[in-house]
Amino acid sequence: MLLKGRSWIWILPVLLLWEGIFRLNLFSPLVFPSPGQVFLRLWQDLLSGELPRGILFSLSIILISLIPAAILGFLMAFLSLRYRWVDSLSGKLSALAHPLPGIALLPLFIIWTGLGFHTLVLIVIHSVIWPFYINVRSGFREIPPLWIEVGRNNGFSRSREFFHIYLPASLPSVLAGLKIGWARSWRAVISAEMIFGTIGTGGGLGWFIYNKRIFMDTPGMIGGLLVLMLIGLLVEYGLFRPWEDRVQIRWGRGHVRT
């Protein structure tokens, strides 16, 4: 799907236009480098290991944060269903915390928990947990009461009810929550890395781009942005789309995407 030629053909004229504007010599190469310079620098940064290390660092932060955030968010949504006070509490909490950008909490996280890898993890957890909870909660609410009653009439135990009705029925909303969670976490981690980074050992992709800015390596900076976009595309088309298609077909709502 990703590599289906036709829909990506527009890249070619964009590259040509880019090179054309560069050749007009209207801007300093520091402002507007040529595609050749950008790809050469990208290649050098890949070979030097700086870029792969940055990508791995950012992705590992997301992976480490996404899992606990998803588990917590799911639990909150599920317990909200069972207990009224949990529902009221998590509803209020998410209404208060959801609009807060993780970056705004960075200074507080630093003075409360110190500085390090875990600060970034906390920011990402914050940025994922609320949208995920909200999605899953609304997923649970949309489960037709009939399904639950069928389970009860058949004498389902609580755990059986959870594993055979709630869990599968909420899958589409879990998936939607994960998709939003991924997008939020990716933004959160990149922006947090731009606020603080470790100078000697390096950091993630956000730090990579920030560092390129500090040392005025414009081709390298644009290269970093291109990699950001590419990873976004890969995750969307390589992971979420196929998964989504399968879930949709199983739920009888979709058709195979062409």
Partner: protein
Amino acid sequence: MKKTALLISLILILTGCSGKQDNTIRLADQYGLAYAPLQIMKARGFLQELHPGITVEWTRLANTAAIREAVLSGSLDAGFMGIPPFLISRDKGMEWKIAAGLSRAPLGLVVSAGEYTSLAQIPRGAKIALPQPGSIQHILLSMACEEQTGDPQLLDENLIALKHPDGLNALFSGAVQGHFTSPPYLFQEQDDPRFEVLVSGEEAMGEPFTFIAAVVTEEFRRDNEELYRDFLDALDMSIAFLDTNREESLDILSTAYHMDREELEEQLYRSGMVFESSLRGLDRFITFMQASGYIGDGISEQEVCF
């Protein structure tokens, strides 16, 4: 056809922005006491006095990188900044030069009192905050490391890039064990008995150095020689005013910085804060940054100054 026309007009609009402007000077400074003469210059209108009819546009930007980018995009004629980030930009081919110095200030690495007696004692796990790689704080710390241990990168693994106020909070809360900073943050940390300065900027440099300098684009000077001269004179007048008209300066600055008058007076005339237009330490910065690979060999003292 329509699209092509649109595109061409877009390009023309974009490039039209960087035309020269007569009788306007666009300046950018940053936050901090080291920029105090500029507040005087603004409030007293010295440049307008020397060059009647001129429009002076001031912008306050958060860091040197933002100033460099604004100059590159053609929205600024001059900016005030530390020497190392300027040298990095000059090395990358930005066409601007140092016109004058503005201030000297005490800088230093603040650590817990009594914790360390030398840089070599700082353990691997300890964290040191400073604004960003390649900043004057980073370069000074590298100089101090080289001086004390022979290895300029000794502490690079310990460094964390944080803005000054975040670094101060991190030090006070124990999240970092050291903070290389400048006034007013340095003064606040020094005044707390729990902390002390382990290495000062001047110890690291081995000589006095200009902290903030005025950098002007070559194009601006070429097109506005007279205005350029007046700009330098206005800077000198502002610096002189700070020394001679203490009371009035304090009035202007306490409004500009929203600071208490006594506190401001204490910090402004504290030892180490020197306002002067002569440039110091440039050669040492160039030599060190060349030796550590921050800038290429093509940079020389004569070439980077007007």
